[in-house]
């Protein structure tokens, strides 16, 4: 073998190694998790267990929010089954209290006092009352929601459930699972449901 051809074959080996490296370039969620455990620390109520993914977070991460229809169906059934609906069968609370919860973006961060009632941060992502000009656009507009969907018991149960666990209806939704995660209480979710559906609420004015 000439010197040149040795160089060539070494080059080929290097190229092959590089190709292998490129093929597995993207770190797995477990590798990300390991790094987060190394580099993050618990603070306030934000414990380290929060960087561990549950099956929904994992599946939505690895599929870039597009799992197969079959998996979506299976897992949405599980998520739906975990929703705890009010024992009294009433889904609507006080829309005036709901307005405050919708406007507040507090809760669940390392700065928030553990146990203090948080908000839903609804306006961060949704338009709600048309009279409020400051709203986000990550989620759809919910202005005049009652006019669009009606205020039937069925609609009330849907809105309550959607706030409680959005993933039961849209598995990789960017909306938090406010009930499942313990971010909002049953009463708070009832108040928000009323804010969205009560005909007297500014959302429907």
């Amino acid at each position: 073998m000439t010197k040149k051809s040795i160089c060539y074959s070494l080059g080929a080996v290097a190229a092959a190694l590089a190709a292998v490296q490129i093929a597995r370039a993207e770190p797995t969620p477990l590798e990300v998790r390991a790094l987060l455990h190394k580099d993050f620390h618990a603070k306030g109520q934000a414990t380290m267990s929060r960087v561990d993914q549950d099956d929904v977070q994992w599946l939505c991460t690895v599929t870039h929010n597009k799992p197969s229809a079959k998996r979506v169906k299976e897992m949405e059934i599980d998520q739906l089954a975990a929703i705890v609906y009010p024992a009294d069968g009433k889904y609507m609370g006080d829309w005036k209290k709901g307005a405050k919860i919708a406007a507040s973006g507090a809760g669940m961060t390392w700065k928030d006092k553990p146990g203090s009632p948080g908000g839903g941060g609804c306006y961060n992502c949704h338009q709600l009352a048309p009279s409020q000009p400051s709203f986000g656009t990550i989620g759809p507009s919910l202005a005049h929601f009652a006019e669009k969907r009606g205020n039937t018991l069925e609609a009330q149960k849907y809105v309550y459930g959607k706030i409680y666990n959005s993933k039961a209806f849209n598995l990789c939704s960017e909306m938090p699972r406010f009930g499942t995660s313990g971010s909002l209480s049953e009463e708070q979710i009832k108040d928000l449901t009323a804010y969205v559906l009560d005909p007297a609420s500014p959302v429907n004015q």
Binding site: D39, A46, Q53, P133, G136
Partner: protein
Amino acid sequence: MLRVPSRALLAGLALTAAASLVHADDTNKEIQKYQRMTAESSPVELWELEGADLWKKKRGPNNVSLERCDFGMGPGVLKGAYAHMPRYFEDTGRVQDLESRLVTCMTTLQGFTEKEATKRVFGNADKPSDMEYLAAYIAGQSRGVRMQVSTKNPKAKAAYDMGKALFFYRAGAWDFSCASCHGTEGKRIRMQELPVLSSPKGARGTYTTWPGYRVSVSQLKTLQWRINDCFRQQRFPEPKYGSDATVALTMYMAVNANGATYRGPGTKR
């Protein structure tokens, strides 16, 4: 000491703008106008001047300045250094961003312990941190330089890949990843437009203006602070200052911003 006299005036302008709003589009135009006005009267230079003094000041147990600190272009070479960071450093065996590299120099040159060097990295309006002054000064030395962050080194490439994976990793109490807010074009939180940091367009526009002076709080904020506060709002635990995870994310955003001209330190809402 660096209180801005025009702060009340600017806040007044913002209120006037907010009061005259009818539609969201108008609001955005008003916000952009407000941003242009604030940029024109930005006090960022004061931070840079203070940082230049700190850079030359003899400090720490070794009583030496930072002037021999190497940001990858040779000891003490600052021109264009920030536009090439994060990068791999042989002496630490790590990929480092500006702020983690400053910690390295404060420990190796000046003799501080890491704990001392990172004791107060985020300041407040009354008392900014040394890190904020220094970051403003050093980043300012890359103003007008094209972003050219390299992933040729395997560790730099690995940091980029990890940063990308981290960007899309969903977890926390609210199931958020970075991409939940910064992954789709044309979205807002309240009135704040959200740059898509996974795309060159969004990353170029935003990355090149950090660190930045935030008018609403009269403070200069560093990129490490920005990442820290994003994770807080993601309902995650807290990232360690200058850690590999934060550098990896910075690497991902910096590479996405490659080709753009660095024009910071900028001015924010």
